[in-house]
Symmetry: C2
Subunit: 258 residues, 2 copies
């Protein structure tokens, strides 16, 4: 039987609020089984851009990663956030190792092709390209990978990649070696029936319910790609997926199934 | 017999000039034996501080690392510079892995005690504390560690540490496992008899000559701590140390001996 591996994805306000980050990292550090963490960027990259007087470039509500923006997300995600998370985990006796997708070549990506929009230095990841064997060697050494949402194109360029997509892709790739549990942790208590009511958590969600909720407009905006990443993980062989808040990391939130 | 490991330290203009960085990284990538790279920060941290309107705080010509400065060096050294070096090495088929001292806990440090001056978040490293066994496992896997000059205090704080000191300390610590050659690569051709004449390279320097040159005022300023780190490495069991320019990385520059 494959050993269990839990992959915790943290993003949004969980990263921006020091108290909530500390809670979730001390929980993560205490887990005895194999584990890995994937983090997003929070608001710190935008805040640094503001301080530098760089205006975000948006097309249809999506950010364009030009050269300056790529340098900033590399600094903030792979530098500031990643290394502070690693130092905090080391304090809690968790042998964390921070990785961007370029490190040990673990997550190669392809620059998104220019169609109607040129998204700039944005990388799309194919789970089959992820170096799962290299990641599993780190994990089997007793290390806990802490992965920043920066990938590389194997030709010397870094790329900006969505952290939920990385979490889902890494979970699928590692399912060859482990029984993977994927936990998306963010500021809400789970998938909500009413976004304004934090107690309206949907305990279980399958694809049929997702389609229904999407058609009814109950699930909108940022929750749609998050759920698509969750279902992609299950289709790719991941054993279980949950979406929850820092308080629900152990077993709360919404359980996702096919 | 121990296998050979070459540790290349790069700093100063070598990092700031893209053409010189590309040359030295493609040389490094081509080496067949075990290897590791340690990099400094160049001028990019100061340039980001200027853009953010943060004035460097200096005491007796030495920089003070306050909280804001620590965040900036973490972003620039462990993020921007480290990940771009790793991506460039991956392009050249070198399986590089970027590490700060916090990653896998490889380089713990102690915050410098406050005496006349409070240097802030500056870490002093004891070679015996470096996790040489962990680093050697990465190297024996075929990985080339790329180490940024950021350490951690094991209590959750990152610390700013001189890159020459890290290179010397890591070289000493890894001498348990390898016959280590340490190469300090910077913008000069080696240790110069006349700092204004780049052809006045001293081919060999031992401790007696160092003392003589220091007394005569031939060696001054930044070269003194660099040479002290070189001699400390040799006293700690490192097999050979050279100081050279990117063009001299293979076998040029000044050879240091006891």
């Amino acid at each position: 039987m494959k050993p269990t591996l839990t992959i915790l994805k943290i993003g949004g306000n969980v990263i921006d609020l020091p108290s909530s980050l500390e809670t979730v990292l001390s929980d993560f550090a205490s887990w005895r089984e194999h584990k890995a963490l994937v983090h997003g960027g929070g608001k710190q990259a935008s805040s640094l851009m503001n301080r530098l007087g760089i205006a975000p470039q948006m097309v249809n509500g999506r950010r364009i990663t030009d050269r300056q923006t790529l340098d900033i997300v590399t600094m903030v995600y792979a530098g500031l956030i990643n290394k502070n998370i690693v130092a905090t985990l080391q304090k809690h006796a968790c042998n964390a190792i921070g990785l961007s997708g370029a490190d040990a070549g673990v997550i190669p990506a392809t620059k998104r092709p220019v169609k109607e929009t040129d998204y700039g230095f944005v990388g799309d990841v194919i789970p089959a390209d992820i170096r799962a064997e290299q990641l599993s060697r780190f994990i089997d050494m007793g290390l806990a990978p802490v992965i920043a949402p920066i990938t590389h194109n194997r030709e010397g360029s870094l790329l900006n990649t969505n952290a939920d997509t990385i979490a889902s892709g890494v979970a699928v790739a590692l399912s060859q070696y482990y029984r993977v549990q994927l936990v998306f942790c963010f500021e809400k208590n789970g998938v909500l029936r009413d976004p304004s009511d934090d107690h309206s958590v949907i305990a279980r969600m399958d694809e049929a319910l997702f389609l229904q909720c999407k058609n009814e407009g109950v699930i909108t905006a940022g929750m749609i790609p998050k759920l698509e990443n969750a279902f992609a993980a299950l289709h790719g062989g991941v054993a279980g997926v949950r979406i929850c808040s820092p308080e629900g990391v152990e077993n709360g939130g919404t359980s996702i199934s096919l």
